[in-house]
Amino acid sequence: MTTLPQPGHADGQGAFRAPFLSRMHEWIATADHKKLGVMYVTTGLIFFLIGGLEATMMRWQLAVPGNTILSPEDFNRLFTMHGTTMVFLVGMPILLGVANYFVPLQIGARDLAFPRLNAFGFWLFLFGGLLLYFSYFGAQGLYGMGSAPDVGWFAYAPLTERTYSRGHSTDYWILGLLVSSFGSIATGINLITTILTMRCRGMTLMKMPLLVWLMLIDAILIMIAMPPLAAAQVMLLFDRLMGAHFFDPQGGGSAVLWQNLFWFFGHPEVYILILPAFAYVSEIIPVFCRKVIFGYPLMVAATVSIGFISLGVWVHHMFALGLSPMVNTIFMGSTFLIAIPTGIKMFNWVGTMFGGKIRFDTPMLFSTGFLAMFLIGGLTGVMLATVPFDWQVSDSYFVVGHFHYVLFGGLVFSIFAAIYYWFPKVTGKMLSEKLGKCQFWLLFIGFNLTFGPMHVSGMLGMPRRIYTYHADRGWELWNMLSSIGVLIQIAGVLFFAWNVFRSLRSGKDAGADPWDAWTLEWSTTSPPPEYNFEEEPVVHSRRPLWDLKHPEDPDWKYE
């Protein structure tokens, strides 16, 4: 074992402030899962601001009929970049970042299984994202046309073929995502390996915290679902650059095939995004209800079955494609099935709240918001799965409403819950409760105002991805409401930014365990030392810290 001499190791207070360059180098060269986790989440949040800005511009354009703030091309680029950014550059990195930080801590490990691969994954993700955004400048290419991609986040062929998408914008979409999804796959593999092989003594599979379970299934989905996307993108790239014919109707290629390939990835992808949300609230709700999670084994079983079922429902994005009624019926059935395990999770969370002693600190507030909003989004999902109804509202604003309820109301709310919950652990500082509550209410109201009316305009016949609309169609009111809602959301996001900024400078000290919680990450200092735990912990139950806090009534006697 070659051992490098230890450079001046900064340990919290009193450490000298290293010069800028060497601090940069420290971040660039790190293989520490915690530093990488922080970098993931931070980049994710920055991209969230960018994606939000893009959304704001779209809503500005759509606020009134016949608006001319944006040209059609610009609008089309905006929703493509908004969707792509939010899914690939916000959702993915934040979930990978949180997993990076807390999976090793919760299973009592020192790091991920392959720390350097982890760093490699992060940088690939980041450079992929930058490459995608570089398209705004670089996509002119040789044709002198094109800017950012404008083909929608699922890039349906043949609109993406050379005939209809000149220039290089679509190539940027392909390559940017390809690079960043290599990173995600690498990190997914890393997480699986870590969870399967690096748990501390005593932590059997059925003693893992739910977050770890959910991230395990999530990583498996990443491993299974992302390579097919890469394959599909590579084929599209060959079409565009070398004249292959995979998705080119003139050469016999099939537009339907692209949709199958994309959604075979795309549907698991949305569960890849929501499972971490489930993970965060599964950690937060018990702590703030002062109760053990209700029905842990069934929660695990539900997680596993969600993982399985989600691989077999992708055709529900193609109900209007004119597939045979039998195919539509079968996939409608499989899609309905997924409501059952998801329902189990909802009920078990509520079951955890039932009989508890609930503290409504900001993390819990956001978690409750998550429950209510995800419920709505899930139910509209079931409505969409009802094929006849989907024939009407597919590709309409109803769908936009649905997925923002699950993605914003579900994913983003839970991300904020997670940030409020774990920020003290990561930085050693508390976030302000008061600002947090203001942020919650602003976001909550703004969010419902923005996305609630979208269901209505969708059912009134408004298709998505239109840059403008006529005044006589009865959509003005609903669009105006949506656009007003964004303003309130912006206020909410600004409160958050201010809260983070303020807490970093002068937040209250958090101590090791501010929430009186039960999983291993709270048994080490905030922020944790580079090695996480001085000795490898040994656990005997799902809540090791409960055992220590209540030695007369430990969990392990009952598990």
């Binding site: 074992m1 060269a29 299984a113 490459l131 003693k207 090695y531």
Partner: protein
């Protein structure tokens, strides 16, 4: 592989993977390779060189052996204070306060069997009705199958009385699955009700169900809606409820496998607990 660092630390500190910028360099190179595809090929060449340099350095750090750094222990440690006596208890007769409630249940099998038997009784009544109303045992089966078979919807009563293979298969599937599911539900819900189980099972639920059916039948099954005789409908529901409820309440109570995890119950995992806890009879 790289986690050799997991080995327990020495007294002063712990060996962790040393920081290295090779992954960064390598990732940058890879990205450049891809960028070259849409810009100029020379970018790809540079990217290749950069990636290769990064990769080689990375390999040299990992092969033949990983490099590590020694991280010294930090000063502050965390201790977790016990908080004895701070847990509220839930008192369940015969159980512990760490319960999976309830402590005793009726076996779920009883529900399924009750559902099946109730379903058979219901089918008999439906057959009788079919014979009386249209003189055919297939009539009610076909009507039920019309929930899902559109072609049956277009036929007149005389044809509905005829034999349809698909009608029969689908009708049976629908009836049996519904009976079993509702039976299971009886099996778990009835025991939770303190008083008036029979009343609940035999009247409340059938009436609730009939009410729901009445409200939605035009959409759920237009054919049934056109041909239904509500008296017979409700009677058959009540017969189902009564029989199923009876079978469930008569079954023996058994102890729940308190605190067993699913994996343990399936025998997949035994976490080394000496006596598997809490299987009170």
């Amino acid at each position: 592989m790289e986690h050799d660092a997991k080995q327990p630390g020495t007294e002063h500190g712990i060996h962790l993977p040393a920081p290295t910028s090779s992954p960064f360099v390598c990732a940058f190179g890879v990205t450049l390779i891809f960028t070259g595809i849409v810009t100029i090929w020379s970018v790809s060449i540079i990217g290749f060189i950069v990636a290769l340099a990064g990769a080689i350095r990375w390999w040299r750090e990992g092969l033949p052996d990983n490099i590590h750094q020694l991280v010294p222990f930090q000063e502050d440690r965390v201790t977790i204070e016990p908080r004895p006596g701070a847990v509220a208890h839930l008192m369940i007769p015969g159980g512990t306060h760490r319960a999976r409630i309830p402590v005793e249940i009726h076996p779920y099998g009883a529900g399924a069997i009750g559902g099946l038997v109730g379903g058979i009784a219901m089918a008999v009544i439906a057959l009788i009705y079919g014979l009386i109303a249209e003189g055919s045992p297939w009539y009610t089966v076909n009507i039920l199958a019309a929930t899902v078979l559109p072609s049956l919807g277009q036929e007149d009563p005389a044809q509905l009385a005829q034999w349809h293979t698909w009608g029969f298969i689908l009708g049976i599937i629908i009836h049996v699955s519904m009976s079993i599911m509702i039976g299971l539900l009886y099996g778990v819900v009835l025991p939770m009700i303190a008083k008036g189980r029979i009343l609940f099972g035999a009247f409340f639920v059938p009436l609730l169900w009939s009410g729901l059916a009445w409200g939605s039948l035009r959409v759920v099954n237009p054919v049934l809606n056109d041909h239904v005789d509500w008296t017979w409908f409700i009677i058959s529901q009540i017969v189902f409820g009564a029989i199923c409820g009876f079978i469930v309440t008569r079954s023996e109570r058994i102890g729940t496998m308190q605190n067993w995890s699913t994996l343990e119950r399936l025998g997949i995992e035994s976490p080394g607990v000496p006596s598997i806890g809490g299987d009170e009879e």
